[in-house]
């Protein structure tokens, strides 16, 4: 299906060009850059919406395809397109960005035009990552993503921002270098940079394992998976609220997306033979990180660790597929696992964004993220407390919120793979509730503990708008996930079919 106009290009370039314009508007009139940025972000969101109704959910084919030569000498093309896996993630990106712009409205007084521009450019680049069907194009967007995020943390970040940015940059850069090598190797083998061509590329076991590990380094760092997760808490703690939101809500998803777009279909045999490792790392993420989250003193760190644990469900859902497929010819449960992982990614996009925004609301007022500095917030900020409790419940996977859907699907699927996988995954019901609600108890409930808390003002209309939008998204996805699940069905079914066939 193709629209009359290049919808994907517009979604990529409108925010990038808009971002440059906002940058040029300078800081003389911050109002101009704020309103300009909001306008562009909303316009991008509006223009990306036709992706959903225009999408044909009955096929796994790439849709809204744009393909023109870019560097003909190397057979590199400007090739864009979406399927059921990437389309929801693009909508997630365009939905979150306006909220980030609004959330940073008055909060960012230092160089607001550059701040807004960084986020707009970031948006376009991330959409590019999801939409690229050419590996070179993908790689360019992938690396380009680092720059705005590097700037966001480095300029508007906290006191230890330099350490955090370097750690963030080195970690992610190190991972992606190996990916580049793998991509170039496959280019020489196939003579093309088409990702879809890589899917059908015949590869021997050794090649597959090496390529798998190269991808793993890139994607595992992004997700992030245990044990390459330690950059995330540092990056979150130092990042400004908006940076944390984009990081948690979208950038982490790019790692998960990479597994589905590259690792699984390109190296199915290696993925199968190494699935125990990924499953092990995922389960460690769920359990180990859950306990680590429990003892955090810093709210942002706690949510960052909780993100790692939740993303463990994503990779778990993706890799139990191999065990289920190898068990029987009937792939019942395999699709459920991958679908669960995808739903978890979208849901985590909403919930983690909301949780970081909630912490941001408190931080803007009291300039502390330490749990110990709060207590009894509900007494002075009742509406805020209601939002915070709601999102915390969603974070703890309460049915009726989106947080439940993905976890439930992955637990159901992992039971089919192995009883004990399901047991370990299900511990999140208790641990997840423990770390989230214990934080709520200490921050929100109780007597007002300090003069600082006593002077807090409840959320204003701007903050309420942002949190309400996310609350509705969390609720709708939780009460009726069918619309999301349906658009992914064909693509994921096709993927599972594809990885069930050995390349050897």
């Amino acid at each position: 299906m193709t629209a009359d106009w290049p919808i994907l290009s517009v979604t990529i370039w409108l925010p990038i060009i808009g971002g440059l314009l906002v940058l040029m508007s300078g800081d003389k009139a911050p109002g101009v850059s704020r309103w300009g940025a909001l306008l562009i972000a909303l316009l991008t969101f509006a223009l990306s919406i036709p992706l959903y109704p225009g999408f044909d959910a009955s096929t796994a084919q790439m849709q809204f395809v744009e393909n023109r030569p870019w560097i003909p000498m190397f057979n590199v093309n400007y090739h864009l397109g979406v399927d059921g896996i990437s389309m929801p993630l693009i909508l997630l990106t365009t939905f979150i960005t306006p909220l980030v712009v609004i959330a940073g409205w008055e909060v960012i007084q230092y160089k607001p035009s550059q701040y807004m521009a960084a986020f707009l450019i970031m948006e376009g680049v991330m959409v590019g990552v999801f939409a690229a069907l050419d590996a070179m194009l993908f790689y360019v967007f992938w690396e380009a993503m680092l720059i705005p995020m590097f700037i966001i943390i480095g300029v508007w970040g906290g006191p230890r921002r330099v350490y955090a940015t370097i750690k963030f940059f080195l970690y992610t850069f190190l991972g992606s270098v190996f990916m580049l090598v793998a991509l170039i190797y496959m280019y020489f083998k196939s003579g093309s940079m088409e990702i879809l061509a890589f899917h059908d590329l015949k590869l021997g076991m050794t090649e597959q394992v090496l390529i798998f590990i190269a991808f793993l380094l890139a994607f595992a760092v992004k997700v992030p998976m245990w044990p390459v997760h330690t950059w995330l808490p540092d990056a979150h703690v130092e990042a400004p609220t908006g940076g944390s939101v984009i990081l948690a809500a979208i950038m982490l998803k790019i790692g998960g997306y990479g597994f589905l777009r590259f690792s699984l279909p390109i190296t199915p045999d290696a993925s199968h033979s190494l699935d125990w490792m990924i499953i092990g790392m995922s389960l460690i993420a769920v359990v180990y990180i859950g306990f680590v989250a429990l003892v955090q003193q810093d709210m942002k760190k706690l949510i960052a660790y909780s993100s790692i644990a939740h993303m463990g469900f994503v990779t778990l859902g993706f890799f139990i597929v191999f065990i289920i497929v190898s068990r029987s010819d009937v792939h019942a449960g395999a699709v459920l696992g991958v679908q669960g992982g995808m739903v978890q990614m979208v849901s985590h996009g909403f919930i983690s964004a909301a949780m970081f925004l909630c912490v941001g609301v408190l931080y803007d007022r009291l300039h502390s993220r330490q749990i110990a500095d709060y207590g009894g917030v509900v007494n002075v900020m009742p509406w805020f407390a209601a939002f915070m409790v709601f999102f915390s419940m969603a974070n703890a996977g309460l049915p009726g919120t989106s947080g439940f859907v993905g976890e439930f699907m992955v637990i159901l699927a992992s039971f089919r793979a192995d009883f004990w996988f399901a047991v370990l995954a299900a511990t999140t019901l208790t641990i997840g509730a423990a770390y989230t609600l214990w934080m709520v108890k200490r921050v929100i409930f109780g007597e007002v503990t300090s003069e600082g808390v006593a002077a807090l003002q409840d959320i204003n209309a701007r903050e309420a708008l942002v949190l309400t939008s996310l609350a509705l998204a969390v609720l709708v996805l939780g009460l009726w996930p069918a619309p999301l699940v349906e658009v992914m069905n064909a693509s994921i079914g096709n993927l599972v079919q594809h990885i069930g066939v050995s390349k050897l």
Partner: protein
């Protein structure tokens, strides 16, 4: 038509809750109670109509979906309703008690902050509980299951400034989550082996799987049905507060009294009993699971009742009583006497709600003092409360003719007839429990309503402190407080309305529910487990007369007598017993050590483990050795290599010469 009615039943309270909660400033206090009472009232009226249709008009079973939640991988998850006599009974009980509690709350919360919030929560609870009982599938059951848990969390922590309240609500949520951990695995097992989450389909496919076994650990092979049933039952142990997941229920008394009546006595905590009864086609396939259920229930029934004997907080006595009575219901389920469990659930809902609301009325009279040592002689000041409370007490201990008599006797008889493993133990536990029930019930009744007092209002009153101050008694300056007086109509009318079924419902319902065809086609009992069928039943009067010759009735009488003798006639005995049996008192006072164990091992252990994994795993190993380690080694290499780049030309020239010499000599020596 039916679908419209059912949707109205669930959505009316939800709407009321949303209006009272989101527009609390616009609707005000009166608006909030009117809108929620209207919502729950509609729901109650329609539920009673539905009950009428199913109980008397033989309406066909309704099983339809409302909308499709998602279809994935051949697994269809829907939101829908299954209405049969079991559901209809639960709907009627839930909405009726809920309506009473709504009205009562107007009086109880009259001077409290957060009035609108409270009404919003209890209406939301009604919605959640209805979604739970009306569900036709496991997914929605789990939704309702967790949603009632959420509201319970919010309401236990209603007084969010109180440290004990916000500790209790966290504890409650986590204990329930431990149960849900098992529950969700049980659902996963159903989804995997039966390929559906729909009740009707699952029950249809279950018998074919009765002989299936799965290996979960090495060569250990377990029966699939046992695994499924026990996993699901772990969920029930959380929600219905069975040992060892019962720890949250006594603490839940931190919430306002109306919700103790509604959520933590009459409805939510019975969700586990409802669930097991609903799943009777599965449980009948596993005798091991039934034994497990029965032993857990009987253990809870006796040992939790014992703790009730030494409690001094009026609500906690009733809370331990609730634990014990839930144990009776669970034990009945284990004996395959599902109907008896449900029957006790229903009678208990009425008389326990009555007792809690009566206790609340006393608490109002006592100016929110809950310590029974400060009470006494309340019958003079609160006649309606006194009489209704007495009715509730008699119903609870199983006084012949009252509601609890029929339901409890039926359970004991059924467990007696049971032949599965553990049934002898269970039978004696339940019989002994009858004595304990009468003892703590009448101890409470006598201390609160009879004797001198109320001691709180006496000049120079010193609170009794003979138990070593386990619970510090706050000594009030109370001389200027007005004496207690009877509570307002909004409080007493619900008491009277609940007292009526507490007397008559047992006599009326035992015939059809236990020995008639009321639950035909709803609950399935295998022929070899049919314990209720073993009981010879000749009408309620015959049952009553038969009961008069049994052991339980004498034990109940003995319990009541001992309570009177020890606490009224010779109060010195109580003190004496405490000193003589201080080891026993210590065990009971520590509630068998469950709380301390959880606090140290689970809470403390988790924090220690978390600290270790964070500080050692993340900080030292991953960051210290690997990440910063590699950065350091790069730095070290660089610092060494740096010496080679001095910038002096003669250094480089010298190096070139040495290199050349070295190379030459290597060639030569080779």
């Amino acid at each position: 038509m039916m679908e419209t009615i059912l949707l109205a039943i669930v959505l009316a309270p939800l709407t009321g809750s949303a209006i009272a909660g989101l527009f609390r400033n616009q609707v005000g206090r009166a608006g909030a109670h009117w809108v929620t009472i209207l919502g729950v009232g509609i729901s109650c009226a329609l539920s009673l109509y539905v009950f009428y249709l199913y109980a008397f008009e033989d309406a066909p079973v309704y099983n339809e979906s409302v909308y499709t939640w998602m279809v994935v991988d051949g697994l269809r998850m829907e939101v829908g309703f299954l209405i049969d006599r079991l559901t209809a009974m639960m709907m009627a009980v839930v909405t009726f008690v809920s309506l009473m509690v709504h009205i009562y709350t107007i009086g109880y919360m009259a001077h409290e902050d957060g009035y609108q919030r409270f009404f919003s929560y209890i209406a939301l609870f009604t919605f959640s509980m209805l979604m739970l009982v009306m569900s036709n599938n496991f997914m929605q059951l789990f939704f309702g299951w967790e949603a009632v848990g959420l509201v319970s969390y919010l309401l236990i922590g209603f007084y969010f400034k109180k440290e004990s309240a916000i500790f209790a609500n966290l504890k409650a949520f986590l204990a329930n989550r431990v149960g849900d951990f098992g529950f969700v695995l049980g659902i996963a097992a159903v989804a995997m082996y039966m390929g559906t989450l729909d009740y009707a389909e699952a029950f249809e496919r279950a018998p074919a799987l009765a002989q299936t076994s799965i290996s979960v650990w090495g060569d250990q092979v377990w029966s699939l049905m046992t695994v499924i049933c026990i996993l699901l039952f772990i969920g029930a142990m959380g929600k219905s507060a069975q040992v060892p997941l019962h720890v949250w229920l006594p603490d839940s008394m931190e919430g306002p009294t109306p919700i103790s009546a509604l959520i933590h006595a009459a409805t939510m905590v019975t969700a586990g009993i409802f669930m097991v009864a609903r799943m009777s086609p599965l449980y009948e396939l596993s005798e091991t699971a039934l034994s497990f259920v029965m032993v857990i229930g009987a253990t809870t029934a006796f040992f939790m009742g014992l703790i009730g004997v030494i409690q001094n907080d009026i609500k906690r006595v009733i809370a331990y009583s609730t634990l014990s009575q839930l144990g009776y219901m669970i034990a009945a389920l284990g004996a395959s006497a599902y109907a008896a469990g449900l029957f006790h659930l229903m009678t208990h809902a009425f008389f326990k709600a009555l007792l809690f609301l009566g206790a609340g009325s006393v608490i109002i009279g006592m100016h929110h003092d809950q310590d029974i040592r400060n009470m006494g002689g309340m019958r003079k000041f609160m006649p309606v409360t006194h009489w209704t409370f007495l009715i509730g007490t008699l119903a609870l201990i199983g006084f012949p003719g009252f509601a609890g008599f029929f339901s409890k006797d039926a359970i004991i008889e059924a467990v007696h007839e049971s032949r599965i493993l553990g049934s002898d133990y269970a039978h004696w536990m339940l019989v002994a429990g009858v004595f304990v029930t009468a003892l703590y019930s009448f101890r409470l009744y006598f201390i609160v309503f009879h004797g001198q007092g109320p001691r709180r209002f006496e000049p120079h009153h010193e609170a009794h402190d003979e138990d070593g101050g386990a619970e510090a008694v706050v000594h009030h300056e109370v001389h200027d407080e007005p004496l207690p007086h009877e509570s307002p109509k909004v409080v007493t009318v619900p008491l009277i309305l609940l007292a009526i079924p507490s007397i008559v419902i047992g006599y009326m319902a035992i015939g059809p529910m236990l020995f008639g065809d009321f639950f035909d086609g709803v609950i399935s009992v295998a022929a070899i487990h049919d314990t209720l069928g073993e009981i010879h039943f000749e009408g309620p009067m015959g049952f009553l007369l038969h009961g008069l010759t049994g052991i339980p009735i004498f034990l109940a009488a003995a319990g009541a007598f001992v309570a009177w003798y020890v606490y009224m006639r010779r109060p010195i005995i109580a003190t004496d017993l405490v000193t003589r049996f201080d080891w026993l008192y210590g065990i009971l006072d520590r509630k068998y050590g469950f709380d301390a164990f959880n606090q140290i091992v689970f809470a403390g252990g988790s924090r220690l483990l978390g600290k270790f994994l964070w500080q050692v795993g993340d900080r030292v190993v991953i960051d210290g050795a690997v990440v910063n380690g590699s950065a350091h080694s790069v730095g070290w290499v660089a610092s060494v290599v740096r010496y080679l780049q001095t910038g002096y030309l003669y250094h480089y020239a010298f190096a070139i010469i040495i290199g050349l010499l070295g190379l030459l000599s290597w060639f030569v020596i080779r």
